[in-house]
Subunit: 395 residues, 2 copies
């Protein structure tokens, strides 16, 4: 009875649901503390105390009709959009105004809004493997065609030669995600400059506009003082998608934004389309209380040291067992080389030790597995003996 | 640069934005208290005090990681879904379980989720004029074809003869909206029974499944003790879309639900598709704090007497001026016959008196205008002399 397009998706989705249910099943048998679930990117650092304070203040100060009402523009409250622009300008030396900001239902909502705004059926969307698997679904929602650049497993920076070859006159969008899910890699400034040059060249060659969408929910989650370049400064047709899911630990609240700079071709038209897309896709507006919360918490930070401790412990622990992976500079994922070619087999073996990890083929990069270390430190420490046992099967 | 599909929508949307901007412009010239904006369905009764109390309790009681985190299922928190099912069963004698409920980003989000789940390109979606204009956009999002049943301007109950003739083997969905936006009419039980019989007959005739989607954000807003039949009891393939936007005055917070009963054909598959659609359309899950709020406020009611007083005052006031309209039994709209055939001309004339009203052609029913009376009582009382002046141009 369901739509044809949905049938495959429902079938594939069951695999993920199956893993989740398997986790619950294992927790019932062995106790939750003996199941090590590295499968989900759900932050376990609580939202900053300032979020709670902001909510109390808003409930006391604001008229509930305005606080919980529709926003005048589908793009969000004017003052909130202005606050986002000011904050970005302060941090990155950009020159945005409130009008360049569209408040969205998280980054996932934002990506859907901008793809709906830009994509005609058959238009190509390029993503660099490994990439967040949902990009395929989002592209498919608007009958776009996802074109994959194969992974560079040396350092997981994008393969720019292959990229240049795969850009065609149908290429409308290129998505980058840095810090990256699933690798934790941050694209270097050198990479970004080269990528921008390739895209500029191809825009000229084909006389087309190619939009760079920077999906950056992990922007704030970086370690060792690494800098994440702000992409609008390197390439004019850049649109940024942001989420507070990770930076303020509000993933369930669905709050983020798009930045559509004036430098984008036909930016007013793109902004108008994003406004309409927000409405007709059923978002209507980003949740209003959450908009006001993030405006009050613009300079709050999550506890990076918590994730960093996890990162060090898990990275070292896995290396000591004999596993290999590059050390991530951002996000809260480790992307580990599977000791056998078929990483799904490895994931199945890990499950015998109550270790739940995600196969790399979910990110278009088979032969690897993703571990989300946004778990408790205890989970990491207690999982290491299990990883050691698992390793003995291979090394 | 924007998608072809969006171009018309952006153009049409500007007309509505223009009205909004016109309202702001007029307010600046004449003062906000001298501009009578009946254009928007934004409730002006504040959320019940219980909402604020619920938020305070939740922030004190709940672990923020759980309160603001992703829900385990994209359909929402298990306990919230269960609470919705229990409440519906108590009120309507239904037999839903938590699994039949999908928490959504308002009714607009829910309608998009279910249409994405069901519709193949070219499938027909039937709506009865006058209808909420967004149905056309939602259908278009999934390449469905909206088929319109012409309005019955006698009493605004649906034209069932025309309906029966327009159902084809391609008909996949029928949307009803009762209490109705823009007329305020409640479809009678007799109407519902006949409508169900027509649909049963056509399902048999064509060997197809035709889903009845009941879009009911206004269910709780009824007057004079009128009963709104619960449609799942009359037709097996019924899916309900609900929103707390009006009943708890939380339109900006984007919280509602779908009911997909076991009686729906392939209900498990439809539920699985709705779960996936919630994720891939970018909603991911309904905002989590709001889910928990509505679970705590399940039996709260908005102040119907406030809207009722407005309804009586505006209805009587307009009738006294010579305008004609049927008295609405629900929602917070009056659908008034334009004294001239071209109701856009009438809307333009009204604007001269700072009266902002919406042309019926936005609801596929030209020759009428919609007035949203979810405004202050003072706005209504102070607008009546203006309507009297306006009326003198015609009667």
């Amino acid at each position: 009875m369901i739509a044809e397009k949905m049938k495959n998706m429902v079938a594939n989705s069951s695999a993920i649901r199956a893993m989740f249910e398997e986790g619950n099943r294992l927790a019932k048998i062995y106790g939750a503390e003996n199941v090590f679930d590295f499968s989900l990117g759900n932050p376990n650092v609580p939202a900053p105390e300032a979020v709670k304070k902001a909510i109390f203040e808003l409930l006391e100060e604001e008229d509930p009709v305005a606080l919980h009402g529709y926003t005048n523009s589908n793009c969000g409250y004017g003052d909130v959009r202005e606050a986002v622009a000011v904050s970005l300008n302060e941090r990155f030396g950009t020159h945005f105004e409130g009008k360049n900001i569209v408040m969205t239902v998280g980054a996932a909502g934002g990506l859907n809004v901008i793809l709906k705004s830009l994509i005609n059926p058959g238009d190509e969307v390029i993503a660099f493997a490994p990439y967040f698997g949902e990009y395929r679904s989002y592209t498919n929602n608007y009958d776009g065609v996802l074109v994959e650049i194969s992974p560079n497993t040396e350092d997981f920076q994008p393969k720019l030669d292959e990229f240049e070859q795969k850009i065609t006159p149908k290429t409308k969008v290129v998505i980058v995600n840095t810090p990256n899910n699933p690798t934790g890699v941050v694209y270097s400034e050198e990479t970004i400059k080269k990528l921008a040059a390739v895209m500029e060249g191809k825009q000229k060659e084909f006389g087309t506009d190619i939009f760079l969408i920077s999906d950056e929910p992990y922007r704030e989650l970086v370690y060792d003082g690494v800098q994440v370049p702000y992409l609008t400064k390197y390439y004019a047709n850049t649109i940024v998608g942001y989420s507070y899911s990770k930076s303020l630990s509000l993933p369930g609240e669905r709050i983020g934004y798009l930045v559509i700079p004036d430098e984008v071709t036909d930016s007013e038209e793109v902004l108008a389309a994003a406004n309409v897309a927000t409405r007709i896709l059923g978002f209507v507006n980003a949740p209003t209380l959450q908009q006001k919360i993030v405006a009050k918490c613009m300079n709050e930070k999550t506890d990076i040291s918590y994730y960093d401790r996890n990162r060090e412990a898990l990275y070292q622990g896995l290396r000591d067992c004999g596993f290999s992976c590059i050390k991530p500079q951002g996000a809260f994922y480790l992307f580990v080389k599977s000791p056998v070619a078929d990483e799904k087999e490895f994931c199945a073996a890990a499950k015998k030790y109550n270790l739940l990890i995600v196969p790399g083929s979910s990110f278009a990069c088979p032969g690897y597995v993703r571990l989300a270390y946004c778990v408790s430190y205890e989970t990491i420490i207690n999982s290491l003996p299990k990883f050691r046992e698992l390793a003995k099967e291979y090394f």
